[in-house]
Symmetry: C2
Subunit: 342 residues, 2 copies
């Protein structure tokens, strides 16, 4: 594969443009070589229009929506540049984290929660905006891992796992002091570690994966099946479930704890296989308080038998939004460590 | 940590001495820089003498037994050198794989099945035999991984897992075209991946690990508890269990398959986390025929949901004894890839 990154210093003192695309929001930032964020901007992802979807067939409005989503991204980028007072041609490179799956390193993306982007050529489109600049696109969990290592809870360690527990359960790895991509850019999929061979089916096609037990939608689904319901007018989502658990709802507590236990078991498995120093956990459940977090630590403790596994340091991500932007910037600002291999 | 390996070429054309120490046998070989094995030798590990063990206290005969084991190793090495027609001082370096656990990179070993070696300074003792030569000691699973990558089923791939299913379940990793050690030399412990959160206790202190479900002793234990017994005069071990399964014994078949399923789930989990190209499986069960192997492949298939996981190539190790010796030699013959990091 052709080397897409820069040698250190190729950017001179030029800042990077960082982009982070999730299922519901787009964020952009101008980031200096030392990690300083000069300016940020945010946009919601323009909504999917299910009314335009013809059942089982072509979705006639989707091309327009795909461009609308890219337009929101372009506006968001423009606002970040303007707010930083920097012209587009002064940007040294572009790093982008995007919800998966994607073809890597091509940066052709099909984010599960942006249905209008199916095989959308995100990297190519960003290169049109920033010609002759390096543009690197990777999974959002990978950007978080790079950010936590470069400028977050994992500074100075050699071996780190970042995990996001959200609509899905994703992650990224720094191994031997470098971002680890795996054979096809898919390393870090802790969500599809099997932790319960007889567990529930997983959207991936497997069974008993961490994601099948711990994702927001799966946890809410279990709670609803057990009789939990949100207060009138509230959505049944991970946020209201976590709030109900915090308020003492028994079912919500039990299912949130079950999610935490599964993530903890996944961390123990990952540390057993990889002899890691740090795991950083992000996402709404991780921020929701002790019910999830204590269950995560207990699940880890129950499955961390060997001394080197028990030594894993488990941290809550401090500010995953900003850290993921810094990580995306690091793809191009520190490519010897966070760029793509030759 | 000081660099213990050599730059490529420091050994000139000098061969390496390779040593492989398991629970019951010691093997040594003289290996050329191109992987050719000039000569090998084997010795049984001198037996532990339980009669000398004072219950709960000091084991008076152990110092003597520890030296007896090292004496057998020295004899084995001497035979390999003599058989290759090479003097000890013509050896360029020594690579050694040893059953774990151990302190790495110090090479202070405590192999579970050699009770007289507890914190035995194996690397220091080998350095006395080969002064001023690099001597590198690592887990036997790591030597197998290096060997499969250097000269076995994983030649030319970037990301490989080697697994040995035996008295324990161990392994080693090559990631990004280099041997991956982890933070404290413990990477590759696939035996302690949790695959069944509610599974049986594991000797490691955890629960539901691959090893708790798939090791030889655990599988035999389950079969015996279910009513299986070996033929009169035969030991109840993994070998007789696998033979009984091959002959159609229902309990033996079921429990061997259960072990295979657990290993397959562990491979799917490892491939999900690491986006591997190849997994190579060694050990008596892997060699025992289709009952274990088919269950392993089915267990993998059941848990390999994502396309990149399904692409994993799973191979049976061709000749793990010789491959592990080659891998140990590679520690010193190809240190840029298989040596220790600076």
């Amino acid at each position: 594969m052709a080397r897409s990154g820069l040698a250190t210093g190729d950017l001179g003192a030029g800042p990077a443009l960082a982009v982070d695309i999730g299922g519901t929001k787009i964020a952009a930032a101008v980031v200096d070589a030392d990690g300083t964020i000069r300016a940020t901007a945010r946009r919601p992802v323009p909504a999917h229009r299910p009314s335009e979807v013809s059942p089982g067939g072509r979705e006639p409005g989707e091309d327009g929506v795909a461009e609308e989503v890219f337009g929101a991204l372009r506006d968001c980028v423009g606002e970040a540049l303007a707010s930083a007072g920097i012209a587009a041609d002064a940007i040294g490179g572009v790093g982008c984290g995007c919800a998966g799956p994607m073809q890597w390193p091509a940066g052709v993306v099909s984010p599960l929660n942006i249905p209008s982007w199916r095989a959308f050529p995100l990297r190519a489109r960003l290169r049109e905006l920033f010609p002759e600049r390096p543009v690197l696109v990777h999974n959002d969990g990978v950007a978080l891992a790079a950010g936590e290592h470069w400028a977050g809870a994992g500074r100075g360690v050699r071996n780190l796992l970042a995990v996001t527990v959200s609509t899905g359960v994703g992650g990224g790895l720094v191994l031997g002091d470098r971002l680890f991509h795996g054979t096809s850019g898919n390393a870090g999929h802790i969500g599809h570690l099997v932790v319960d061979v007889d567990g529930p089916d997983c959207p991936c096609g497997g069974r008993g994966c961490v994601e099948a037990l711990a994702s927001g939608p799966r946890t809410v689904h279990r709670a609803r099946a057990a009789g939990w319901a949100p207060a009138a007018g509230q959505p049944a989502d991970g946020h209201t479930l976590a709030a109900a658990a915090a308020a003492g709802d028994e079912i919500a507590c039990r299912e949130l704890a079950r999610a935490g236990t599964a993530v903890g078991a996944g961390l123990a498995a990952s540390a057993s296989l990889l002899d890691l120093e740090v795991a950083v956990v992000a996402g709404g459940f991780a921020q929701s308080g002790p019910i999830f977090w204590d269950a995560l630590l207990a699940g880890f403790g129950r499955h961390a038998g060997l001394a080197f596994v028990q030594r894993l340091r488990i941290e809550r991500s401090d500010d995953p939004g900003r850290i993921a932007l810094r990580g995306a910037a690091a793809f191009v600002l520190a490519p010897h460590r966070y760029g793509w291999p030759d």
